[in-house]
Every structure is written in structure tokens, then in C-alpha cells.
């Protein structure tokens, strides 16, 4: 991300946007929120937003209007005249987001935008990002909160040690996981020894909802269900696709 925004030198490769190499003029149309948040602590909220808007090429009048608009959208209108250092961390985070958005970027790059947010903050940010994506602004963000990523994102890329280890649409990744079929099954008051009778079945995980079984070598879920019925009363049986977290563990372990 820092390479996209030109604050870190690339070792190799190229950054392109709409087929053209990215330069300063292109970057001015991007919005950026670094992982280490950065604002002028002593500058007032509205001044700060307007300043960054004008640095991105907006005229003074446009910058002022854009600052007011985003103050309202982010619920900061009452704090417009306050110095940033007097704001709570949550509100500072909102200002930081405002700085990334105030000039109406073509592309939004956010490094760990959800870290340090409370659930309400997460909802507000998710809403804003969803709205932008719906307007056609690509939003690229990094996160370790994979449930959130799974819920919000269309496509993901998993990077390990600077290399891309998996990428694609979330749906595709989940259905293309190494274990094509897993089932979670629970049988009342019995362990999982009965699974040994199903060829190709392998216990992946044991949880309160039962055991997670991976089916290898062409074994079908029906065989598992039959064996489970034979063992006792089945209280839970469901086909499960791998979550993003599991995909992530797999990809990183590989």
C-alpha cells in the first residue's frame, strides 16, 4: 500500500492505475489512510480536512464545502472547530478517514482501517466503505479481522512474506478450498470413533457443535450421515464451506 502511494520505494514491479503507471498526479486522486495514523495534532478538524482537500487539488471554496460535507457524514460537525489532539481516539480515526475521503478519491487505500474501532465505529466505517463501493469507488483495505473481511469484501488477496499466496473472489476461494467438502456433525452422547468406519473421512476440528469432518478420496456426505445414524441420535449435520480464517491458515501454512 505504501508503494502504491509512493511513500515507499518498490524493489521490483510496477504500479499501474487504469493501464497507466502511477505518478504524483494520479496519486492526488487516490485517498489514503496509513496504518500509523497521522494528523496535525494542533490543527482544527475542519481546517485539517480543508487543507488536505486543497493539497489534492481542490480550490479553496471546493475544499471548504467538501470539508463540511464530510464533517456531517462522519458525525463530526460539532467538533469542527476543535483541535484534533482534544478528540477521542475514535473521533480522530473518523477525521483520518475524512482526510482520505474529502477530495472524492477515485481509489481508496486503507491500511488496517478497522483496528482500534469499537463495534459502533466498525459499523459506521463499514457503512461508509460499502456506500463508496456501491458508488463505484474501488476500496482496497488490509485487515486481520477476517470475519469482517468475509462480510464486506468481494475479493481478497492473502499476502505472506511479501508474496501473494491466494487471491480471488471470496466466494470462489471458499468453494475452491483444498477440502472441497466438509461436514460438521454431532451425535448425541457418543464420541467420534464411529467415523473410523467411513473411508476417506478425516477429523479436522472438534467443537461444541460437533466434529468437523473433511471428506477425501471421493467420500460422500451421505456415507458420514449413514454412519452417524448408526452410532446414535444425530443432533447436528451440516455441509460447511471453509471460512476465510481457515483459508488464511491454510494459505499461510503452505
Amino acid at each position: 500500500m505504501r508503494i502504491i502511494l509512493g511513500v515507499l520505494e518498490r524493489d521490483a514491479g510496477e504500479v499501474r492505475w487504469r493501464g497507466e503507471p502511477v505518478d504524483l498526479a494520479t496519486r492526488a486522486r487516490f485517498g489514503y489512510m496509513p496504518e500509523e495514523r497521522g494528523l496535525y495534532p494542533k490543527m482544527r478538524v475542519r481546517d485539517q480536512l480543508a487543507y488536505f482537500a486543497s493539497l489534492h487539488g481542490l480550490s479553496a471554496a471546493e475544499a471548504g464545502a467538501a470539508a463540511d460535507l464530510w464533517l456531517e457524514r462522519l458525525g463530526l460537525t460539532e467538533r469542527a472547530g476543535d483541535r484534533v489532539e482534544t478528540l477521542s481516539l475514535g473521533n480522530q480515526q473518523r477525521v483520518q478517514l475524512g482526510v482520505a475521503l474529502v477530495h472524492g478519491p477515485e481509489l481508496l487505500v486503507l491500511d488496517e482501517p478497522f483496528s482500534g474501532l469499537d463495534p459502533v465505529g466498525v459499523d459506521v466505517l463499514s457503512g461508509v466503505l460499502g456506500g463508496l463501493a456501491a458508488e463505484g469507488v474501488p476500496v482496497l483495505f488490509s485487515s486481520h479481522q477476517l470475519e469482517l473481511v468475509e462480510r464486506l469484501c468481494e475479493s481478497v488477496a492473502i499476502v505472506k512474506d511479501g508474496r501473494l499466496v491466494a487471491s480471488g473472489r471470496v466466494e470462489d476461494l471458499r468453494s475452491q478450498g483444498a477440502r472441497a467438502v466438509t461436514v460438521r456433525v454431532a451425535v448425541q452422547a457418543v464420541g467420534d470413533e464411529w467415523l473410523a468406519r467411513v473411508p476417506g473421512a478425516e477429523v479436522v476440528d472438534r467443537g461444541p457443535d460437533g466434529v468437523l469432518v473433511a471428506l477425501n478420496d471421493g467420500a460422500g456426505p451421505e456415507a458420514v450421515l449413514d454412519a452417524a445414524r448408526g452410532a446414535g441420535t444425530v443432533t447436528h449435520f451440516a455441509l460447511e464451506r471453509p471460512t476465510l480464517s481457515e483459508l488464511f491458515r491454510q494459505a499461510v501454512a503452505a
Binding site: V7, E9, L24, A28, E36, G38, M43, F52, G104
Partner: protein, 399 residues
């Protein structure tokens, strides 16, 4: 909507520096206090009677001493006024102790609390020998016009090769104030610039800034913004100071003084241009305000040394040291203005000094810009100068 041209980015950054500082209470208060001090310095001395003839009160315990004391008031060549007070020997000690008299003359002895002024001793010695000579001449039978001629030989006439400037002392005071103002202003704005760089670095806002504008534009914008502020502040303070001095009569404000004042303000611009890039680098190399002091030390030392040298220059504005330091870029902004104020710097020397400082400042800015660019995005610990230099070299070779 497209990317900003460099010039526009520089303008925006400079404007932010200027307006933010002007809205800072601490900045406005310190400026108010400084202005007040300048006005006091300009107004107080004449009000307190400084600069006029010196006044002494001389006690005398006997007739001969009183005669000598009266003669002392008339000794030519000294700018003093002497008041004579007749005391009894018993009163003398008390009068010295409580400071009613500066010294007491009794029976050929001059007594005072502390070592008396040379001037006072000089006139008393002269008066004493005059009175004693008169007595001796009278005893030898000399009288009337002959006695007067013997006692008042024509004084030695003093002439100088160069014309004596009657305003010399006042110009010296003005030059001293100019040195003080330049020294303070250079240090203050160097520090403001460096700490502004650290502020951006420590708060990480620099990463957001540099995703939009070039490091060079940010640096130049900051330098120009604070430079304009420093220039404006110095200009206003100089104007107020000169006005106050003119109104109080401390200084005769004529074309010469105005020219020297304008040149002093101009020298701030030169000196600031020379030092600004260096101060910005000192800021870019450290991660926190706490470490700024040590990284600025070489620069503050240069300014401090120049400041001390300027005292020697004030004393001897035509000496070797004065000539040499006028052409060294780091000292010229502080040692040249007092020479100009004292009228001791020929025009060609002023021009050469300006050219030397300006050229070295212009040569320094790209170097400073390179170090700044290489260092400002590196967070964490302090950075070695060499690493900052190389970081940019790598970036440029790939771009």
C-alpha cells in the same frame, strides 16, 4: 481535478505554516513580549538620563579641598558635571557610606566607597595640580595676566584622519540591538522549522502529506512559510523599535539608520535561507522532539559562535576578524550587519558578502532537500546523515 503543480503545493504548505503559527497563542504572546522589550530598550535610556553628561557629587572637608573640587568642575575635555558639598570631617564617612557623595576630598586624599571612576580621578588630579601650581606660582610672585597664562596653557588640539561621527555611540547601540535581534530571530525560526518537521514526522502526518505532494515541495513550502513569518515579525519589530527610539529621542532616525535597518532585516532573509535547509534536516533525522536539541547542536553552535564574534566586531568593526567573518556564509548574517550599522563596511564588501551567503545558501538547499527526503519518512530511531543521503540516491536511480 488533477495533481497539484509543485508551485501550488509549495504555496499551500507555506500558507498553512503561516496561518497556523499566527493562530497560536504562545507565538502571539512571545511576539508581544519581545516587542514590549524592544520598545523599553528604545525608550528607557533617555528617560533614565543615560547618555547625558555624567554627574558626580564631591565632598570637601577643608577650604583647599573645596577649591580643588570647584576647579574639578571646570577641567576642560571631560563631559561631566560636578557638584561640591562642604562636609565636616565627622560627616564625611557617613556621606560616603550612604552614597550622598561619590567621593570625599580631604587634605590631599580622595576617599570613596568603591574604586572611583577613572574620569572622576582624572579631573580631581588635574584640578589638584592646577590649584597647587597656582599656589606655587603665586608664592613665586607671579600675578594677574601672567599667572592666568601660566595656569591656562592652550590645550592640545585633537584631530583625526577620518571624520569623527558624533552619532557613533548611538549607532553602536543600534548595531548591538541589530546583532541581538538577528541572533534571536535566526535561532528562533531555525528551531520553529526543525520542530515543525519533527511534529509532522512524529505525528506521522508526513506519510499522508507525501502520498500527495513531493518531499521537496513540502520542505520548500515550510521554509518559505516560516521565513515570511520571521521576516514579517522582524520587520514589524524593527519599525516599532525605530519609531519608539525616534519619538523618545534615543536615536536620530535618518536615512543612514533606515538603510542599515533595512539591510539588517535583509540579512535575516539571507541567514535564514542559509540555515533553514540545515535546520529542516536536523529535524528530519530524529523521530521525537526530545532528540531534536542534540541534532540541532552543530547549527546552534555555529550561530552562537557568530554571535560571540560579533561582539569583537562591534568593538573593532574594521579589524581582521570583522573582515574575515563577513565573508563566511554561516557568520556573515550576524557579523556583517553591525559593521553596516556602524558605517564601517564599504559597499563592495557588502555586495561580496551578500553574494557569498546567497550562493552558498542556494547551493545548500538541494543538498538539504536530498537529506530531508531520504530521512523524513523513516520512523523509529534517529537516522545517520549518510543513510539519509544514500536512501535518496537509491530512490533516484530507480525513478
Amino acid at each position: 481535478m488533477s495533481g497539484l503543480r509543485g508551485r501550488e503545493a509549495v504555496r499551500l504548505v507555506a500558507r498553512r505554516e503561516l496561518t497556523q503559527k499566527l493562530r497560536e497563542k504562545s507565538f502571539l504572546i512571545s511576539m508581544g513580549v519581545t516587542t514590549l522589550i524592544i520598545v523599553l530598550v528604545a525608550v528607557l535610556p533617555p528617560l533614565l538620563g543615560a547618555g547625558g553628561p555624567k554627574e558626580y557629587t564631591l565632598g570637601a572637608t577643608d577650604g583647599e579641598s573645596a577649591e580643588i573640587a570647584r576647579a574639578a568642575a571646570k577641567v576642560p575635555g571631560f563631559d561631566v558635571e560636578v557638584e561640591v558639598e562642604r562636609l565636616s570631617p565627622a560627616e564625611a564617612s557617613a556621606a560616603i557610606d550612604d552614597g550622598r557623595v561619590d567621593a570625599v576630598l580631604s587634605g590631599g586624599e580622595l576617599r570613596s566607597k568603591e574604586e572611583p571612576d577613572d574620569e572622576l580621578v582624572g579631573i580631581v588630579q588635574a584640578a589638584s595640580s592646577q590649584v597647587r601650581q597656582a599656589q606655587a606660582l603665586r608664592a613665586a610672585g607671579l600675578e594677574g595676566a601672567e599667572l592666568q597664562r601660566a595656569l591656562n596653557p592652550p590645550p592640545v588640539k585633537v584631530t583625526t584622519v577620518e571624520p569623527v561621527d558624533p552619532e557613533r555611540d548611538r549607532k553602536g547601540a543600534f548595531a548591538f540591538v541589530a546583532v541581538l535581534a538577528l541572533y534571536t530571530q535566526l535561532l528562533t525560526f531555525g528551531y520553529l522549522l526543525a520542530s515543525g518537521v519533527v511534529e509532522e514526522k512524529a505525528s506521522r502526518v508526513v506519510e499522508v502529506l507525501l502520498s500527495t505532494i513531493r518531499p521537496k515541495d513540502l520542505l520548500v513550502g515550510k521554509i518559505i512559510g516560516l521565513g515570511l513569518l520571521g521576516f514579517g515579525q522582524l520587520f514589524v519589530m524593527t519599525a516599532i523599535g525605530l519609531l519608539a527610539a525616534a519619538l523618545s529621542g534615543a536615536l536620530e532616525v535618518n536615512g543612514e539608520i533606515l538603510g542599515a535597518a533595512a539591510l539588517a532585516v535583509g540579512w535575516f532573509v539571507l541567514g535564514y535561507t542559509f540555515y533553514a535547509g540545515l535546520f529542516a534536516c536536523a529535524g528530519a533525522l530524529v523521530p521525537r522532539q526530545e532528540e531534536l536539541q542534540s541534532s540541532m547542536t552543530p547549527l546552534t553552535m555555529l550561530i552562537l559562535v557568530s554571535f560571540f564574534v560579533s561582539f569583537i566586531v562591534l568593538d573593532d568593526p574594521d579589524g581582521t576578524l570583522a573582515h574575515v567573518t563577513s565573508f563566511i556564509p554561516f557568520s556573515a548574517p550576524i557579523t556583517m550587519p553591525p559593521r553596516i550599522a556602524l558605517g564601517e563596511a564599504p559597499a563592495y564588501e557588502i555586495l561580496i558578502a551578500i553574494a557569498v551567503t546567497l550562493i552558498s545558501a542556494l547551493a545548500l538547499i538541494p543538498l538539504a532537500g536530498r537529506i530531508y527526503s531520504g530521512a523524513v519518512l523513516r520512523t523509529g530511531s534517529a537516522i545517520k546523515l549518510r543513510d539519509a543521503w544514500r536512501a535518496t540516491a537509491r530512490a533516484e536511480s530507480r525513478a
